[in-house]
């Protein structure tokens, strides 16, 4: 039985007067892949961002309830910089910095105080190896990351997250801008990464959630309709709304 990485209690989130998350109560297991699915605007990305307090950056956001990470309430006394180091994020569109491959990866560790060149070299190589990108970029570390393909750029972004040694990786539709081969590479990578990292992924691709996640949460209009083992959600969901959504009969 996996330990819980997050315990979310009575979480509500408002954008001004609009309630985007309603009474969310779930636990997210450590070292597992949890998929968040649901139609556009259902709150899944908003929920993802509550896990490293990215929503704090949006004006007018109000949050109630508790999010415990390793039994510590991240909405209580919490060092947000440290939180975002522990809980990294990968976005829909690859967003490498306009700098070299090496500098993209070493940027985070440098900010967190790593100065030694040899230590940075080690981190860059390990992160790129962990993101299964090393062999493709080892001869062009000093060249611009913008010259990489979309799939390589996304793996670079994952490597950049890994470089600061996080515990959790949040992924917001990380493959929706990628071709099928790059998508499968990222999926394989996620499968590897879950040995060391807790992964929470938002995806619109139902088959992807089925392929890579251990548990799946179905969001609808700001609520979690159903949260269970992926195998159960995709073979015999309990709620009719989940069934309608995953069989493509939802509108």
């Amino acid at each position: 039985m996996n330990m819980q990485k997050f315990e979310i209690e009575q979480l509500n989130l408002f954008y001004g007067d609009v309630q985007a998350l309603k009474n969310i109560n779930i636990n997210i297991a450590e070292l597992q892949v949890t998929a968040l699915i649901g139609p556009s605007g259902c709150g899944k990305s908003t929920f993802l961002k509550t896990l490293n307090r990215m929503n704090d950056l949006i004006p007018g956001v109000r949050i109630t309830g508790n999010v415990f990470m390793d039994n510590e309430n991240i909405y209580g006394q919490c060092d947000i910089v440290d939180l975002r180091k522990r809980v990294g994020m990968v976005f829909q569109k690859p967003n490498p910095f306009p700098m070299s491959v090496y500098d993209n990866i070493s940027y985070g560790p440098r900010i967190h105080g790593v100065r030694s060149r040899s230590r940075l070299d080690e981190i860059v190589e390990k992160s790129l190896r962990d993101a299964v990108l090393w062999d493709e970029v080892k001869d062009r570390l000093k060249k611009s990351a913008l010259g990489l393909s979309g799939g390589q750029q996304q793996r670079l972004c994952i490597a950049r997250v890994l470089a600061v040694n996080p515990e959790v990786v949040l992924m917001d539709e990380p493959t929706s801008a990628l071709d099928p081969i790059s998508t499968l590479k990222i999926e394989d990578l996620i499968d590897e990464l879950k040995q060391n990292y807790t992964i929470i992924i938002v995806t619109h691709n139902m088959q992807q959630a089925g392929r890579i996640s251990d548990r799946t949460a179905f969001f609808l209009q700001g609520e979690i309709v159903e949260f269970d083992l992926t195998e159960k959600i995709f073979s015999r969901p309990v709620d009719k709304r989940t069934e309608d959504y995953i069989t493509g009969r939802f509108g």
Partner: protein, 242 residues
């Protein structure tokens, strides 16, 4: 509600195909019983010919299922419906095979006087036929209760089978001249018993299709009774009788 027109049309077609195959199999059982009772060789030959048609039908449905899986990526109930169809057609095809097996024996026994009046074998055949009818009906109506009735009837067929086998053994012990025909009747009884098993399988798959649970029936009707069912995957009657 968003409709998936092409997919829904595909599922509707699949449903109709299964009903059509089911009615072909039912007709084949009816004819098998008639041919055996009346020692009607012509009808037995017809059953033989129809078996190939049913085999082809199975292949066509199988192809359709695989196509739907490959192109529509079904999930949940849709996936169960298609996997149920794939399982059911195998059971229906086997039932038709056993009809053809019995027809073959009917041809071999033509012109011979039976060693005993056929009483329990037609009774068993009627029961097996009823189970197949009901199982196909349960599929058509997606009726769990009817499917469970089919599964419950299997024990009755098994009891009749055991009774017939004991009677035939007695007959053969007393008169070695009965052995040749006695063995043929044993095969017939075994084929009928297997037909009932396949009908039970269909019933179980119907329950799975509706509820998503398959183990429940197995637990209710087989495991709890402590009965060791005949090898499910073996269709070799000789192997299980002898």
């Amino acid at each position: 509600m968003v409709a998936r027109h092409s997919f829904d049309q595909g599922l509707d077609d699949l449903h109709l195909n299964l009903i059509e195959m089911g009615s072909m199999v039912e007709e084949s059982i009816d004819n098998t019983i008639l041919a055996l009772k009346n020692q009607d060789v012509e009808l037995a030959r017809k059953i033989f010919r129809n078996d190939d048609i049913i085999d082809d039908f199975e292949k066509r449905i199988e192809k359709k299922c695989i196509n739907l899986i490959a192109r529509q990526q079904p999930l949940a109930k849709d996936l169960r419906t298609i996997s149920t169809a794939l399982k059911i057609i195998t059971d229906m095809e086997r039932i038709a095979d056993h009809s053809a097996d019995i027809a073959e024996i009917t041809i071999r026994l033509s012109g011979q006087k039976f060693i005993k009046p056929l009483i329990d074998i037609p009774k068993m055949a009627e029961l097996a036929k009823l189970m197949v009818n009901k199982s196909i009906d349960a599929y058509v109506k997606q009726d769990i209760q009817l499917a469970e009735e089919v599964c419950a009837s299997d024990d009755e067929v098994d009891d009749l089978f055991n009774k017939i086998i004991i009677e035939l053994i007695d007959l053969m012990k007393n008169d070695p001249m009965c052995i040749e025909q006695g063995i043929e009747f044993m095969f017939i009884a075994k084929y009928l018993e297997r037909m009932a098993d396949h009908a039970t399988n269909i019933g179980e798959w119907v329950v799975f299709n509706v509820t998503g649970e398959h183990e429940r029936l197995a637990r209710l009707f087989h495991k709890e009774s402590g009965m060791d069912k005949h090898a499910e995957d073996s269709d070799d009657p000789a192997g299980t009788i002898l």
